[in-house]
């Protein structure tokens, strides 16, 4: 097994021989199978329809076929990396580095902005996004931040509200905007 894999030209010196069962992909497989099991169970809770009404195609048929296909494909997943490496493709290339803490912070920032958007209103949410995200990503030129946080939301408001007649949530600005 290891002899075969050592033939691949792409594998760098000192790099470990690929394992037949890829550990990360095994975890992904388990997660996907658990999701499929949950979704299959969900299909058993749907209303039953008489064959005459469903024209012999029950509502569960198509989703169950797709879940079945996903399960079959997913079962191949833990072994894919082994064969991919043999053919010179590194499936781990994009996930070899750890996710940066900044990515988690950014995701949290986005969740915070969307979570507050109904209370703040659309316009203030845009202002918050234009202040919070650049600051989070290290922007400290206050004049630039100020100009961006004021002018950009105004421009977006003009395009969508005045140009495209989209109704923005007033939120905290309701006393002013009416």
């Amino acid at each position: 097994m290891s002899d075969q894999s050592s033939e691949t030209p792409e594998r760098k010196e000192g790099q470990r021989a690929p394992s037949f069962l890829h550990r990360t992909d095994l975890w992904i497989t388990l997660v996907l199978l658990a999701i499929c099991a949950g979704l299959w169970y969900e299909t058993t809770t749907w209303e039953t329809v008489p064959p005459a009404l469903s024209q012999n195609i029950p509502p569960t048929f198509f989703p169950r076929v797709i879940i079945g296909c996903i399960v079959v494909l997913t079962l191949l997943l833990p072994f894919e990396s082994y064969y991919a490496v043999k053919q010179g493709t590194d499936l781990d290339e994009d996930r070899s580095d750890r996710i940066e803490p900044m990515t988690f912070l950014t995701a949290l920032g986005l969740i915070l902005i969307v979570g507050l958007s109904e209370w703040l209103g659309t316009d203030l949410s845009m202002v918050l996004a234009c202040l919070l995200l650049p600051m989070l990503w290290g922007e400290r030129r206050w004049w630039l931040l100020g100009a961006f946080a004021i002018l950009f939301p105004i421009a977006v408001h003009a395009i969508f509200v005045w140009g495209l007649n989209v109704h923005f949530l007033p939120g905290l600005l309701e006393p002013i905007l009416g």
């Binding site: 994009d94 961006f148 989209v166």
Partner: protein
């Protein structure tokens, strides 16, 4: 001829022309920005176009798509940073030529080659569309089912490194498309007590999240990357000697690019790489490749732009997207009340010709704008990431919200973005998921209609030669890459001496 003239007349309206112009400017700017793809830009543009009539809306998106492919070559040549994946091959010779002080010549060749490729593919479509419409006359639900199934099978090769992961992502997309009320029986499926799910999950917030937010989270990992400054260049059209040198490369790559674009699920990037390889293979100056050969710029640039026109053929005429961007254009067509496929060409040929006229104009416009404005467009890379990506988030948030004027859609967009980032990290591409989401509804609908038509006897599917043909294509789409690989291994075993010498 009449539908062609009607289509041209529709596009020559000044307002429509202005929107195409805006689409071209946006496309070149977005194409020039590394990280921002034309796919993402078309996704973000979709909510804007909801207020527009269908023809200018789709024309604007198509113009952005064409121009975005060219825009990527500007930064590829000037700063060795391809703004979009199809421009990767252009950088191989474009940047070395720019380093020799001939950036203007490189940009000129890229622009002229792009336009030639784009124009050629559009001419091919004008010839091919009526032929497809003739075939379309015999299409019934079983044929549509087989065709859509074929489209889904092509997910295996749409993008990324893993066909298996593409298929899994696509299948999940199909599964998400079943959320909501089942049309035949009225049963609620996968609603989980959430009232917003009853009407199903719309693909607009999902695709904005997958393409824009997923990439934003990806960019948050690259904040340390330096931004390169752009030097001033004088852009010039290729000389007669340059024309003579690249003419056959352009002709060859135009054919290659159009053909690859027409193949469902193959994109501009594949076309560009093959265009580059073929340019090198046929060149008399092979040794110059990699150090500034103008054929090395003309080959990929012609091919990638020819592929954009080619990719619109299966999208409009068969309802099967030729790439991630055309998947979004397909979604936009559906949002605007059209059903892409053979009947689109048959019943509204003027609409199809209007879109291709818009792409034709876009090709001319990006030549007119690109030559004098390339330096200016390239300077957009100087916008700090800390400002650019929050702006993308704001557009995504407002775009998702404005679609149904609902905060729920913004949550859908955000969750899709976070899932998209995780999926991409593990090799599950967003494009197959979106294609599954779009085509999934159609597959189930056509399957149900066919089974009712056949009185539940699925063997009757095989009575139609069109169905049989598409089923063979489907099997080839699913197992073809594997079989070709095995064939390759077998061929290598047959010629062991050759391998030893090579090794």
């Amino acid at each position: 001829m009449e539908p062609i003239l009607h289509g041209i007349a529709l596009i020559l309206d000044p307002y429509h022309f202005f929107l195409i112009f805006a689409g071209v400017v946006m496309g070149v700017l977005v194409g020039a920005l590394p990280g921002l793809s034309s796919t993402m830009a078309v996704a973000l543009l979709l909510p804007f176009t909801l207020q527009l009539p269908p023809i200018p809306a789709i024309a604007m998106m198509a113009a952005l798509y064409c121009a975005g492919t060219f825009g990527g070559s500007i930064t590829a040549i000037l700063i060795n940073t391809p703004g979009a994946p199809p421009a990767v091959a252009t950088a191989l010779d474009g940047f070395p030529l720019a380093q020799k002080g001939e950036a203007g010549r490189a940009l000129g060749i890229a622009a002229v080659s792009s336009v030639s490729g784009g124009m050629f593919s559009l001419l091919v479509f004008i010839v091919a569309a009526p032929l497809l419409a003739k075939v379309a006359l015999s299409f019934q639900p079983p044929e549509y089912f087989a065709l859509t199934l074929f489209g889904l099978s092509m997910l295996a090769s749409i993008s990324g490194k893993s066909s298996l992961r593409n298929l899994i992502a696509g299948a999940f997309g199909v599964l998400v498309s079943t959320i909501g009320i089942h049309l035949t029986t009225g049963v609620e499926r996968f609603v989980f007590g959430i009232s917003e799910f009853v009407e199903g999950i719309h693909f607009v917030p999902v695709l904005i999240g997958l393409f824009a937010m997923g990439e934003m989270l990806n960019q948050s990992q690259k904040l340390d990357a330096a931004v390169e400054r752009v030097s001033a260049v004088a852009i010039k059209l290729p000389s007669w000697a340059d024309f003579k040198l690249i003419r056959w490369t352009v002709a060859r790559s135009a054919v290659i690019g159009t053909f690859i674009g027409i193949l469902p699920a193959e994109g501009s990037t594949v076309a560009a790489i093959i265009g580059y390889n073929e340019a090198k293979r046929w060149s008399k100056n092979k040794e110059e490749f990699g150090s500034g050969a103008i054929e090395g710029i003309a080959g990929p640039e012609t091919a990638n732009n020819a592929a954009t026109g080619g990719a619109m053929v299966p999208t409009l005429a068969l309802g099967i997207p030729g790439s991630g961007t055309t998947a979004i254009i397909l979604a936009a067509l559906m949002v605007h009340g059209f059903r892409p496929g053979p009947y689109l060409v048959q019943n509204t040929p003027h609409f199809v010709y209007a879109i291709f006229t818009a792409m034709f104009i876009a090709n001319v416009l990006f030549l007119v704008l690109g030559l004098p404005g390339a330096k200016l467009f390239a300077r957009i890379t100087l916008i700090p990431r800390q400002i650019l990506w929050p702006a993308v988030f704001v557009f995504s948030m407002i775009g998702a919200y404005s679609f149904g004027q609902s905060v729920f859609d913004v949550w859908v967009m955000l969750i899709a973005g976070i899932l998209g980032f995780i999926m991409l990290r593990h090799g599950f591409g967003p494009a197959p998921f979106v294609m599954g989401l779009i085509l999934g509804r159609l597959v189930e609908e056509f399957w149900s209609q066919s089974m009712i038509l056949f009185d539940n006897n699925w063997l009757r599917f095989f009575e139609s030669w069109i169905v049989d043909l598409f089923l063979v294509f489907t099997l080839m789409g699913l197992f073809g890459p594997f079989l070709f690989r095995q064939l390759n291994v077998l061929m290598n075993k047959i010629k062991p001496e050759g391998r030893v010498l090579e090794d």
